[in-house]
Amino acid sequence: MWRADLGQIQARAGFPENRPLAEAVWVPATGHNMRYIEREITLLSDGGDMSIHRRRFLKAASVGTVLGLAGCSSQQSDGNASPTPNSTQQDDQQGSGQIGDGELVLATTTSTYDTGLLGALNPVFEESFGVTMKTIPKGTGASLRTARDGDADVILVHARNAEDQFMQDGFGVNRRDVMFNDFVIVGPEDDPAGINGMESATDAFATIAEQEAVFVSRGDDSGTNKKELIIWDEAGIEPSGEWYRAIGKGMGDTLVQANESGAYTLADRGTYLSMQDEIELVIHVQGPLKGGPVILKNPYGVMAVNPAKYGDVNYQAAMAYIGFLTSPQGQSMIENYTANGSQLFFPNAIAEEPNFGQYVPQGYSAEQAQSLSRHDKQFLYWVENEVPTNY
C-alpha cells in the first residue's frame, strides 16, 4: 500500500499548479484503484476534452478515496464499510444535481439486503450521482410484483427464471449480471441424516426425505425457495410430512428457525456467512464455489423497469445504478465486501469474453436446449476464473 497525493498526480498529468482540480487528499491505495487512477492520468495526458476528463477524474478521485478506505475497513468482522470522512470535501465538486426526480427506488430481496452489502454500496452511489436511494427489502416475488406495478425503478434479485419472465413480459430492460455466489445445504452439526460431504444436492435431498430428517423450507416463492423446489423436482420427490416445514419467512428467519429446531435447510452462502455468529448450523453440502454441484449456483441480476410501461419511473437513475453496480469500482466493492471475515459475493458483470446470455432470457437464441447447459458452463467458467483456489 502506498500513498498518492492528488497534487502529485495533478503535477504528473501536467496540469498547472494554479488550477487545482481537487484538494489534496490522502488516498490509501489498493492495487485495484491505483490501476484505475493511472488509467485516468493516461487519458488526461492525452489532452482532449478537458471538461469531460475533469469530471471523470474527480469521480475517480472521490470514488477511489472511498474505495481505498472501504478496502481498509472491510477487514473488520462486521462487514460494514464506514463512509469516508473525506467524502464531504468532494460534495461541492460532484456532478450536477439530480437525475430524474432525484430518488431511486430499489426493490431487492431480503437476503441481499440483510447481508449489508447494499448498506456499503448505496451510499457511494448516492454521493457520486446525487440521488437519494430508497431500498425496499422484500421477497423476490414481492420485488418483482412491486416492479410490475411500477412502484420501483430498479430491481436486484436472484431468480433467473422469474427474471426471464419479467423480461418476456416487457417490464424489465437492460438486465445485467451483477454477482454470484452459491447455495449451501446446512444442517445441525450432528448431521442426523448423514449427508455431510455429499457431492450431489439431489442425493442429499433424497436422503433427507428418506430419513425424514427435519427440513425447513422458506416456502415464500423467493429465489432461494424456487431453487429448493427445483432440487426437489430434480430428485423426483414431492416433500410432505411432518419433517418438511414450510414457514413462509425470510432467509435470516429461516436460518434462525432451522437452528432452533436442529433442522436442515437450503441457504444462500451470503446470508449464511453473515449470520454465522448467531447460529450453529454447519455446511454439509457445498455449493459450486467450493466444488459442489452446479445446481446450487446463485447468480444475481439487476434490471431497470421499462419506462415505456410506466412513464414516471426514474429510468435514468436506474440505469446509472446499473452502471454503477457493473462498473469496475462497483464490482470491486462487491468483491471486497466481507462478513465475518469471508467474501460473500463474486462480481461477474464484466469480463473480457462476451456474455450475451445476461441480456436476454435464457434460451432466447435458436439453440434452445443447448443454451441452458451453456449457462451452466458459463457459471463454471466464472468459478474457475474468479474464485481463488484457496477460497
Binding site: N80, V105, T110, D114, G119, N122, P123, E126, T132, M133, K134, T135, I136, P137, K138, R148, D149, G150, D151, K249, G250, G252, D253, L255, V256, N259, M275, E278, I279, Y310, D312
Partner: protein, 234 residues
C-alpha cells in the same frame, strides 16, 4: 446473572430516534384523523334512529378485528402506480402508512366512541337543548359528557396503530435512507428486521422502547381523563 449482549444497530441512537419519530408521526396522524371523522359520525349514528342502524353498528364493530395485512394489501393496490390512485405517487411513503393505519384505527375509535356517546342520557341532551343550544352545542355537550369513553376510544385506536406491523410493512416498504434516517421504518417494522437477522436481543430493546412509548401516551390519556374532576354519580 447473564447480561444481555446488545449491540446497537448501525447508526446507533440516531437511528432509533428517527424510527421513533416515524412511528409517532404515522400513528398520531392516523388516530388524529380518525378521531376527527369518528366523533361526528358517532354523534350522528348515536342520536338518530334509522333502518339498518343495528347492522351498521355491527359492521363498525367487525372492523375492529380486521386483519392488518389485508388492509395493507388493499391500500397498496389502491395507491400503487398501477392502481387507481397511482398519480399521487404515494406507494411506500409515510402517507400511505397513515392511510392504512387510519383504516385500521377508525373502527376502534368509532365503535367505542359510539357506545360512550349512546350512554349519555337523553335528559342531558334535552337539558342542553332546552337551555338554548343548537344541534352543534348539544353534540359538544355529549362529547364532553362522554369524554372518559372517548379518550379511551382514542387511546385504543392509538394502541392498535402503534403496535401493528402487517399493514405498514406492506405499504411502507420499511425504508431507511443510507444515512441511517428512517423514511418508512417504524419500531415494529424495525423489530422484524432484527428478528429476521436473528438479533433477538436488539429486537427486545426496540420492543421495550415501543412499550415505554405506549405507556407515556396512555399515562397522558389517563391524566386527561382525570381532569374531568369529580366522579360520575351512578
Amino acid at each position: 446473572m447473564v447480561l444481555l449482549q446488545v449491540q446497537l444497530p448501525d447508526g446507533g441512537w440516531t437511528y432509533v430516534l428517527s424510527i421513533v419519530v416515524v412511528s409517532l408521526k404515522v400513528s398520531l396522524t392516523a388516530v388524529g384523523l380518525s378521531t376527527l371523522l369518528s366523533l361526528p359520525v358517532a354523534l350522528l349514528i348515536g342520536f338518530t334512529d334509522f333502518p339498518g342502524k343495528r347492522l351498521l353498528t355491527a359492521v363498525i364493530n367487525t372492523g375492529m378485528g380486521f386483519p392488518s395485512v389485508v388492509v395493507g394489501l388493499v391500500v397498496l393496490m389502491l395507491l400503487s402506480n398501477s392502481g387507481p390512485l397511482g398519480t399521487f405517487d404515494l406507494a411506500f411513503t409515510p402517507q400511505a402508512m397513515m392511510a392504512s393505519q387510519f383504516v385500521l384505527a377508525t373502527p376502534v375509535v368509532m365503535s367505542i366512541s359510539l357506545s360512550s356517546v349512546e350512554e349519555v342520557s337523553r335528559s342531558i341532551r334535552d337539558a342542553a337543548y332546552v337551555l338554548g343550544g343548537t344541534r352543534v352545542d348539544v353534540g359538544l355537550v355529549v362529547i364532553k359528557e362522554a369524554r372518559y369513553g372517548i379518550v379511551t376510544a382514542i387511546l385504543a385506536g392509538f394502541g392498535r396503530a402503534i403496535s401493528e406491523v402487517g399493514s405498514i410493512l406492506i405499504v411502507g416498504g420499511n425504508i431507511v435512507f443510507s444515512d441511517g434516517q428512517s423514511y418508512t421504518r417504524t419500531l415494529t417494522t424495525a423489530i422484524t428486521v432484527e428478528a429476521r437477522q436473528g438479533r433477538y436481543e436488539l429486537g427486545l430493546v426496540l420492543g421495550v422502547v415501543l412499550l415505554a412509548l405506549v405507556l407515556v401516551v396512555n399515562s397522558l390519556g389517563s391524566w386527561i381523563r382525570s381532569k374531568g374532576r369529580g366522579t360520575r354519580a351512578s
